[in-house]
């Protein structure tokens, strides 16, 4: 159990949130020009690393808004939370 600081509602229990997978995956501009392998890469392949990961989360039982989170998957330490549409930190 840990707390997540929703950018809209403030600090809430983790049970109010749903994880939404890897963040910043861009839809290919010309899907018709991709091979099946490239399309599958975009559609299905997600990182599952031990360490710092960029993720999308949803405050499902609160304001129902999506946001981005940088989380260390090995110890659940939340490094950063930022809104949808904002650029990921380069560091």
């Amino acid at each position: 159990m840990f707390l997540i600081n929703c950018p809209f509602c403030g600090e809430r229990d983790q049970s109010e949130f749903k994880a939404g997978g890897e963040a910043h995956i861009e839809r290919p501009k010309q899907p018709t020009e991709l091979s099946d392998d490239q399309w599958a890469e975009y559609l299905f392949m997600r990182k599952n690393i031990k360490g710092v990961q960029f993720e999308r989360w949803n405050h499902a039982h609160g304001c129902r808004k999506w946001f981005n989170m940088v989380r260390d998957t090995s110890n659940d330490e939340i490094k950063l939370i930022y809104k949808m549409g904002e650029k990921p930190p380069t560091e």
Binding site: C9, G10, D13
Partner: protein, 187 residues
């Protein structure tokens, strides 16, 4: 056809807690973002929607609760006519907001059941089934939050000190009420 038979058959009293359903109450869900949306609502119902998170605002007739940066719920402060499903302000807002594409107005009067909990043990009951930190909330009249109580989605409005309005979806209300009664009997 909606079944109006409430699962909350009688008012309940425990030490430091009394529970009753308040019905019928008009409840409208409003969604929108633009400045025009906010000013149109303000003009037509004489009330400014709260912009600050987890707060509410009230006029003599209505209370509006912040649910999300672009979502609010407006309720009537008093009980409305049981035989009539038309609400003046729903029609007014529907014409001024929905029809002009400024946002959306949805009648959720029958979707949510309003349970009023009153007494010094209100927050003991809530805390026993909810991970939300009530320390600040219980000091602040008018505070609003959405969270989970016994794994059921709820909206809580802190009406007066130690007096809260709890909104729960109708299909979950029976389960939640039996949970509240069970928890209250162990106070």
């Amino acid at each position: 056809m909606l079944n109006y038979k409430s699962s909350i058959i009688e008012d309940k009293k425990y030490s430091g807690l009394s529970i009753k359903e308040i019905s019928p109450i008009m409840k409208l869900n409003l969604r929108g973002k633009s400045r025009d949306f906010l000013s149109t609502i303000g003009k037509n119902i004489n009330m400014i929607l709260p912009i600050e998170a987890n707060t509410s605002s009230s006029s003599d007739k209505y209370t509006s609760m912040w649910l999300s940066p672009d979502e609010w719920m407006i309720i009537s402060n008093n009980i409305i006519d049981k035989e009539n499903n038309n609400y003046e302000i729903e029609e007014l807002l529907f014409n001024k907001i929905s029809k002009t594409n400024l946002g959306s107005v949805t009648d959720v009067s029958d979707q949510f059941v309003l349970i009023n909990l009153e007494g010094e043990s209100v927050f003991d009951i809530l805390s026993s089934g909810c991970a939300f930190n009530f320390n600040e909330f219980m000091q602040k009249k008018g505070a609003v939050t959405q969270t989970l109580l016994a794994q059921v989605d709820i909206i809580i409005h802190h009406k007066e000190i130690n007096n809260i309005n709890l909104f729960v979806r109708r299909s979950f209300s029976e389960h939640l009420m039996s949970w509240i009664n069970d928890a209250a009997s162990r106070l």
